[in-house]
Symmetry: C2
Subunit: 392 residues, 2 copies
């Protein structure tokens, strides 16, 4: 048994935030029915120009696929029948669209009063911006996270991953689990409202502390720490590495045994931690002059040998070939019905009794139509009729 | 009743990843006992140089404070008594330290066979790197996320927030909830192993899809989208804004009604979406020439009036003054026993029946020592004795 064995999830989400959330529910044992719009399905099926593409398959494993035309009454009827037996319903339409389609909380609650209903949107279901469409990049701009990422005095840069999409995914996920725990105890369902902007914003705790306590606005500063130096990325002969000489003892070890510049310890620019922060531009310059003479591998060995926190700045390809990451099964393989074997990212949490499991690949569009409708007691004739009417 | 009312959590974590996780457990009703080391407490109490500082108070609300000297047998005895009545134990020591202190899973399981025990570490509890200390910045370098963030051909830059710390926090959180659900159903506890590196790495799904399917390595490109242009940040007269003209129709609207440069539509450099991606440097230059004539506010109005996705790039101060963010109660206030009223970030999930609640401020160091020990049936004389022996 997995933790969510027996949990039934009706998933009307697409692209990344919702699908990532329901993927984890599926990884942990839930029965997830992914409902895709007729005729084109999840927009992600089209990224890159072919139907069953890699992006889609990465975040839709462990789900069954149902394709339904929600603009037709008979299509909605399928959803209502599904909802009667479900625990969780999740959607990431622009606010208002679920109501237009007849699959909003007020409507579905009539079909299942114990339903847990989760909405994911750019800005949330209330407030002056709630009708705006919101994508990950706009959320990065709204939350201020983009403005604190980048080079000092440089242009703003985005976080390299879809930060707010994944933040919304896991925020929706843990709220659904909380609501399920409450339902197990009380028998009651409820409505959950998750936004991309707030999900990422909630993680800016250090930055909020600085703003609220001292009025300091977090600004970009490359890879540098705001209060410690040297604690940042440095260029070497063949790339960049991270060095964190976080206190006076480590700084002196660094001067003596890593760069072999004992004179820096008594250099008036670098005497105290605060001096080094004030003169970090010069310090960076001097360190990179020395670091340019050897490769990253050699500097990391020297740093490790004297116990100074350090690490590589992997390219993404290096990250996924790293022996630690591979030993932790962060790259797994599964069979896809069309593509053959495909690689996927593994599971980030290791549970001793109830590990996440790859039970099935992502569904083809409408792959489980017949199976799901039969479970809902549609007859073969009715199913044929639904197909003829372009409902499924 | 809140979802986690009745859940007892013994929290031996410090700094950010663990405390953020247990803060959310507390926000949702759990009884969290934060155990801090004798004599100095959570390292975060010292950031900025004074004991009860803002960073600490931001992520430790809704917890009780117990201070214990874990290097002494009598200190460990307190933990064992706490664990007997607890559901969850969580720690973020470097792997191996919990065992040295006598609070590892094998030991605590003997005191409570149903315990859910969660460890958070930099690289995980297994594998060739497991003994290394890992901080957020090293995790950003390891996972490859740093290498895909920044300007094209620029230096790597870090994500502006402690991405891997918060990733580990919410990954630990949802696994603890999963284990609790399993415990509610089966009566069994288990061990959970969470790493900073993997928690963030698990979110690189689009980047992994590109690597696995096409061998493409995600690289930094400022704020630009890899497959669409113009879809990025642009400089205006007084700052930067985001524009997402994601298809041909939006591009033509942009040319005609926003920048009023209809000739760009037929410019051979910008005919198709692919042309615009190929010539994005020139396109950015031309657009910024026009955008430099007016303020961000005016450009955003024009873009919105024709329905082109767009948004501001807020400074962090602007983000926390934004009317949408304030209307969603993302800035809340609570009373701290020493500091008076203090602002905090609000709750990112809105649950209709069981909302998160601010029940108490962060504890002072050892604030609930007496209360907690009395509940464990220590007598007043024993408590006095423990204080004399510097155990609490």
């Amino acid at each position: 048994m997995q933790p969510l064995t027996g949990l039934k999830v009706i998933d009307l989400t697409q692209v990344l935030s919702g699908p990532y959330c329901t993927m984890v529910l599926g990884d942990m044992g839930a029965e997830v029915i992914k409902v895709e719009k007729f005729p084109s399905g999840d927009d992600t099926r089209r990224i890159g120009g072919f139907e069953d593409n890699y992006n889609f398959n990465m975040v839709n494993r462990n789900k069954k696929g149902l394709q339904v035309n929600l603009t037709m009454e008979k299509g909605r009827e399928i959803i209502y029948r599904l909802v009667e037996k479900a625990d969780v319903f999740i959607e990431n339409f622009r606010p208002g669209v679920a109501k237009k389609l007849g699959v909003d909380y007020e409507t579905l609650k009539k079909h299942n009063s114990q339903l847990i209903y989760c909405s994911i949107s750019g800005y949330g279901q209330t407030g002056p911006y709630c009708q705006k469409g919101g994508y990950d990049i706009m959320a990065q701009g709204m939350s201020g996270i983009m403005s604190m990422t980048g080079e000092t005095d440089g242009r703003p840069v985005k976080v390299g991953i879809a930060l707010h999409d994944t933040a919304a995914a896991v925020t929706a996920l843990y709220h659904i689990l909380l609501a399920y725990i409450y339902k197990l105890k009380s028998g009651e369902g409820q409505y959950i409202d998750i936004s991309l902007v707030e999900s990422g914003l909630a993680w800016t705790v250090w930055e909020a502390a600085s703003l609220f306590s001292k009025g300091e606005i977090a600004e970009p500063n490359g890879t540098r720490h705001r209060m410690i130096a040297p604690y940042q990325g440095f260029r070497t002969k063949n790339g960049y590495i991270l060095v964190g000489a976080a206190n006076q003892k480590l700084w002196e070890l660094f001067c003596k045994h890593v760069v072999e510049k004992e004179e820096w310890i008594t250099d008036p620019r670098f005497i105290t931690g605060n001096d080094r922060v004030q003169n970090v531009n010069e310090l960076e310059h001097l360190i990179e002059d020395v670091f340019s003479e050897e490769t990253s591998e050699i500097w990391l060995q020297k740093l490790e040998s004297v116990g100074i926190p350090c690490g590589p700045i992997h390219t993404y390809a290096e990250a996924l070939q790293n022996k630690q990451i591979l030993s932790r099964e962060m790259v797994i393989e599964g069979k896809h019905p069309r593509g053959g074997m495909m690689k996927m990212l593994g599971f980030p949490g290791k549970m001793s009794k109830t590990p996440a499991q790859l039970r099935s690949p992502a569904p083809l569009l409408g792959q489980h139509n017949d199976e799901i409708l039969k479970e809902l007691h549609y007859s073969e004739a009715e199913i044929r009729q639904l197909k003829e009417e372009s409902i499924i």
